[in-house]
Amino acid sequence: MNAMPPPQPVLEVERLSTVFDLRAGTVRSVNDVSFSLKRGEILGIVGESGSGKSVTGLSVLGLIEPPGRIAAGSIRLEGRELTTLGDAEKRKLRGNAISMIFQDPMTTLNPVLSIGRQFFEVINAHRKVSYAAALDEAEAALVQVGIPAARERLSSYPHELSGGMRQRVCIAMSLINKPAVVIADEPTTALDVTIQAQILYMMQNLVRDSDVSLIWVTHDLSVVAGLCDRVAVMYAGRIVETGPVEDVLGNPRHPYTRGLLDSIPGDAEPGRLLRQVPGTQPSPLDLPQGCSFRPRCSQARDECRNELTSDQVGPDHFVRCLFKLGGD
């Protein structure tokens, strides 16, 4: 459109709340979450199971089904509001302007269709192309993600590929319609480390070359360290700390982020007890008042029962905590 890169972010999520109305009560899976994504940026959303990181990704894609619903907030993709779109419009968007890579490629791919056929479906849903032209495009996409003998692979079925190859196919498929934003939900968790390293390396190159923006949802802070530009740490449905990866991981200001880092045995002295965070995550049906991390936090005081705001502590670095850990 214009030569100047647009100043506004590709994706803006503002005060998003996604809830699930269950018989036992309302579960606030995503609670007042805001973040934005610039063009060509990789944002890591990190948290434990139940922290709301996957539901955040699904909310952006409009994949929240009843009993779940987006209760409040806005999601804007290139300036366009997504939360008010109808089903047909959402379907036009998904796989096109915004796409997703799931954790388990075996359940993402259709086991009874050839890889080529599935590529054709993804392309044909948004653009009218001939089958032959779709296969050419698919072949180029498979080459891009490092699949050897790409032409032959198009006639293969998912079960004939290894786990790493299947995930490469899913990645190629998610990029085939040149989306603005790709959301990846734990795509390397099921893979071996050498294969994970290959995929992380490849994703970095793809993002650099194609201008796509990427949200990488994971529980693994070290993957975030190796891949992302910025990180948002989620706990019990809220973003507790967000900022550039070097700042958040190098100088964490929220006790929960500190606890996550301390729990990774990599840098600790072997044989000694790790600094552990006691307890477990609170039930999403019964969140503590104020700061959700309060019952497990060593810094907690009475004031933590009050509602918290997110405070800026550095360039683009925000922390939701009253008693932030010391800076530099």
Partner: protein
């Protein structure tokens, strides 16, 4: 605190003690039978036969009393099969497992059921390894009652004590496994293993399914138990950080073979086998930040048709002509460590 343990004194004791657990030249094959059609064709002289996967091939290792040996490798490297052989759950096709001077491979007649209690296992998935219809009190006392270690009426107290030891409150005795979180279930799995007072504990990826904060809690629990109960551990994991934290010695496996064995400190200071080096480099770490190098290429070959010579040669950055022809032996590379590689620079 456990941190106060004098590790040098530990090491001396280790050196003087005879190996406590010994696995000698153990191999395990799994046979995939021919289909009936293939069997007919093979009888007609065509080239069909049963497919044999050698999951573990000629593995020898020793674990001194009171130490922890880590086994690391990617899926299909045979680490879980090795663990099951060590636990006596799988018989070895060749070789033997010797525990405290006695043979105890599965199927070997020399070992009584009572002796087998000294070896116990903690599994990866605490949901699949706990009977969903059994109450916690039954899960952790069933074996002890069956083997006559305690009387039935002592069950409640015995179970409460075990739960306290693994960090669970005693009022959960009558609950079912699904009422617990993953970390708590793994604690129950550990309590069950401890219920017969084992000396040798095999942990197969005990923290792989857990969130990182819970992982740290379970790692600490295992460290405390190892110290308090003087356990000998065989610790199977794909997570090098966890292995480094818990284990005294590490074995790296690739496609059924040991490729490198060294003390944890030596291995992490200087991995010598190209595969170990690749593994170490490719684990993303917090400190190292974003990577700028090219990762090792290719995938793990199918164990049904492993590469000739060195199993790692198709992916190896330092491959030589010899590597695709001859299988390298385990070569001593100093300080009691070995590596399976032809590189002269080891």
């Amino acid at each position: 605190m456990l941190g106060e343990i004098d590790r040098t004194a530990d090491k001396k004791a280790v050196q003087t003690a005879a190996p406590y657990v010994e696995i000698r030249n153990a191999s395990r094959n799994f046979v995939q039978k021919m289909s009936p059609v293939e069997a007919l064709l093979s009888r007609a002289g065509m080239n069909y036969s049963d497919r044999v996967v050698q999951a573990v091939s000629d593995v020898s290792l020793e674990i001194p009393r009171g130490t922890a040996l880590g086994v690391v490798g990617e899926s299909g490297c045979g680490k879980s099969t090795l663990g099951r052989m060590a636990a006596g759950l799988l018989s070895a096709t060749n070789g033997e497992v010797v525990f405290d001077g006695e043979r105890m491979d599965a199927g070997h007649a020399g070992m009584s059921a009572r002796d087998m209690l000294r070896v116990q296992m903690v599994f990866q998935n605490p949901m699949a390894s706990l009977n969903p219809r059994q109450k916690v009190v039954d899960i952790v006392t069933e074996a002890a009652v069956y083997h006559g270690l305690i009387r039935r009426r002592e069950r409640q107290d015995f179970a409460a004590e075990l739960l306290r030891e693994v960090g669970l409150p005693p009022d959960v005795l009558n609950r079912l496994p699904h009422q617990f979180s993953g970390g708590q279930r793994q604690r129950i799995g550990i309590a069950r293993a401890l219920s017969v007072s084992p000396e040798f504990l095999i942990c197969d990826e005990p923290v792989a399914a857990l969130d990182v904060l819970i992982q740290a809690q379970i790692i600490n629990l295992l460290l405390e138990l190892k110290e308090r109960r003087k356990l000998t551990l065989l610790f199977i994991s794909h997570d090098l950080g966890v292995v480094r934290h818990i284990c005294d010695e590490v074995v790296v496996m690739y496609l059924g073979r040991i490729v490198e064995r060294a003390s944890t400190a030596d291995l992490f200071a200087r991995p010598v086998h190209p595969y170990t080096q690749a593994l170490f480099r490719e684990i993303p770490r917090i400190r190292s930040g974003r990577r700028a190098y090219e990762p090792i290429s290719g995938e793990i070959p199918s164990p049904l048709s492993p590469p000739t010579g060195c199993h790692f040669h198709p992916r190896c950055p330092c491959v030589m002509d010899k590597c695709s022809v001859d299988t390298p032996p385990l070569i001593p590379v100093g300080n009691g460590r070995v590596a399976r590689c032809w590189l002269p620079s080891l």
